[in-house]
């Protein structure tokens, strides 16, 4: 009785708080925890049953790790893993540095109206879908009518068939990604900077600290917890690649696969015609599992250095 009684008492005491987390909790239960049971599909050869979804899952035959095999069956496994991880590392590092730098610059702009204009301008690409971004890039890189090849023409440089030449694509991909995402992240950091106590800066100024010293000794340390959290979350997604970026932007060009094929596009291409649900679930499970391990490890490392900055 004691335990249950205390439990209800706790609920009574924290009514208001619990009511506030209720919607989010329900959301997580229904859209994150309940579907987790579907993971078993990764170990089954999914076949339809006339009695509905659950019956299909139950009646499908167990196949062990068979569904995971296709991810590792060829030497492509190395290429897609390398591409996914390397691109994501670049995205995380560059995205962080540039977003924080932008946020600091925006915060330091004295003319607040102009700052808003810059901020909105940087934010805008975030709302574009990759399909549209893909066409933007295409208008620059098209072989016949692209802006870049036209400019090359003025300087007497031979036009380049961008979509069949993998050399420059790692750079193009990174630039396009940053162009689209930096605005959004810098707004998050900007909000954090706005929350820093102004008196800290005033005290620093009285002590004769210049702008650079203020940034290094006040702004960045105050941002560190947020930076750590966002980076940890990003590390958890290191095995996921932005499908649109790697599929739409290079226009699914086969000759570019060596530098644009990532786990997500590989899974899509392998399964779009066979529609094996078991295999796509297996791929998703594999990505989540690695992501989970990475988050736990990197969180553990952060905790070693600074307990307060760790996620949990």
């Amino acid at each position: 009785m004691g335990a249950l009684g205390r439990f209800f008492k706790d609920i009574g005491k924290n009514k208001a708080m619990l009511a506030m987390v209720l919607p989010a909790t329900l959301w997580f239960i229904f859209f994150s925890y309940l579907p987790m049971a579907g993971m078993v599909v990764a170990f089954k050869e999914y076949r339809y049953s006339r009695d509905g979804f659950l019956a299909s899952i139950i009646e499908s035959k167990w196949v062990g790790l068979q569904n995971f095999k296709f991810l590792f069956s060829t030497n492509d496994a190395y290429i897609i893993t390398r591409n996914t991880v390397l691109y994501n590392i670049f995205f995380i590092v560059l995205g962080l540095v540039i977003a924080v730098a932008m946020a600091i610059m925006l915060a330091e702009i004295a003319n607040k109206r102009l700052a808003k204009v810059y901020q909105t301008g940087m934010f805008l690409p975030y709302f574009l879908s990759w399909v549209i971004v893909g066409y933007f890039v295409y208008s620059f890189l098209s072989m016949d009518k692209g802006v870049v090849n036209q400019i090359f023409g003025w300087f007497g440089i031979d036009p380049l068939n961008w979509y069949s030449n993998p050399t420059y694509w790692p750079i193009i991909i990174v630039v396009v990604f940053l162009w689209k995402s930096v605005g959004y992240n810098s707004v998050i950091y900007l909000a954090a900077i706005m929350g820093i106590d102004k008196s800290l800066y005033e005290a620093a100024m009285i002590d004769g600290a210049n702008k650079w010293q203020q940034i290094r000794n006040i702004t960045i340390p105050m941002l560190t917890p947020l930076i750590t959290i966002l980076t940890l979350l990003a590390i958890g997604k290191i095995f996921y690649a932005d499908f649109g970026l790697f599929y739409q932007v290079p226009r699914d060009s086969g000759t570019l696969y060596s530098v644009t094929n990532v786990i997500d596009t590989y899974v899509y291409r392998g399964l779009k015609s066979t529609g094996e649900i078991g295999m796509s679930t297996a791929a998703g499970l594999y990505q989540s599992l690695i992501g989970f391990i990475l988050v736990i490890t990197s969180n553990g490392i952060v905790r070693k250095f600074n307990k307060d900055n760790a996620l949990f």
Partner: protein, 489 residues
Amino acid sequence: MKNKKIKFMPALALLLIVSIMLSACGGGKSDNAEGTAEKPVELIWYTIGTPQKDVDKVMAEVSKYTAEKIGVTIKMNMIDWGDYSQKLQVMTASGEAVDIMFTASWAFDYVQNARKGAFMQIDDLLAEYGKGIVDTLDPAFLEGSKIDGRNYGIPANKELPAQEVWRFNKQLVDKYKLDISNVYTLESLEPLLKTIKENEPDVYPLAVDKNQMPYVPYDYVIEKLPMGVSLDTTDYKIVNVLDSPEMKQMLNTMHKYYKVGYIPTEAATMDSLTDVQSTGKWFADRATSQPFADNLWSASYGYPVVSTPASEALIYNWSVMGSMQAISANSKYPEKAMEFLNLLNTDPVLRNMIDSGIEDVHYKKVSDTVMENLDESKNYDMPTFSLGNLMLTYLNPTDPDNKWEEFKKFNDAGTTAPLLGFNFDTSKVTTEIAAVQNVREEYWAPLMSGTVDPEVYLPRANEKFKAAGLDKIMEEAQLQLDEWRAANK
């Protein structure tokens, strides 16, 4: 804090169990007294095509008719071309209520989904409720769409063989007084392409996109995977088509054409030729034909198109399964669904209502077999070929009177391709297929469009195909093919 979390667990687990039970108990049993004119049952029908504004309006009329005849009403849901396969995949996997659905070799793959259990096996239903279908369809349709000896879908009565043709933009043919009567092979096109290239710099002489491939005389085991048997095969040996001398020659020619600029520079990444076709900035391309196809093309592009054969007319698996309707495995009223399909394929009134809408609203009849679209038809413009027996539909005023007779002649004249009726069961090699698909995606479009040099890329592609397990797939396919031949001697 930690303790509290643990005490939440029983409640959470309870919630989980309850919700699973609730969802499991969802499907109820049907009442047997339904399915009469007074108390019709509703059939849910998913079919392909851009959703039309007046579907519900037309289906209300259709339902009145079918309720009287066979005691069913129809709820039709259309899903757009590009989304159809994926949406249906999800719907069948999650067990949505569907009674009838469109399937084909190219959309919501018939063979694979039948094997996965998406469709109801209809041999008995067909014998009992589908006699009209059996009588009207060319037997080759039902024979060719059997999977492991059983039928899972009703093919539409339409053209049976597939014939490849070269299509030409007639304006340009006339302007330069070109002679297309001698064109048959890819090589024979060259002088014409040269003329166009020299005189019309803005026009693509040979319009090619990423989905096209040169015609080689092979019957593919799986479409767009490089394994097949030669059309004049006697030993039914499955070979790697990329290794064949015919394919090598084709790819060399394509690459030659690409280098001299007959083929669009970005052919390997072009999704479709729709833009080029609507502006008319093309001279020649390849397509699959049917009788009087030139009229259809000319009408849809708005300028005259002429064509000339590029291959023989052959009956392939994919041409037989080009358009089918199947009954869902979880249909509550399979008998009624079959009765409806039977009516759809035999009753001109129903077939034309589904196809053209309501008389005097969407179309008006000119004579017994000819109709004319009215303005309202823009709100109900259906893909005719996807909705059952084509030969019951009314003719357009521009169609020749003997259109359907010509179709029958065309069907009778078609010869069968070697693999007709053989359907590869891929379940033992799914891992390899997924890997091979990836290799195909990487090399297919650049090679087939002539964008890259086959001397360099063909060996590379073949090597990767081998590494991905193409040989194992071919071996398995050969095994099944030999068994199938032994059983069908």
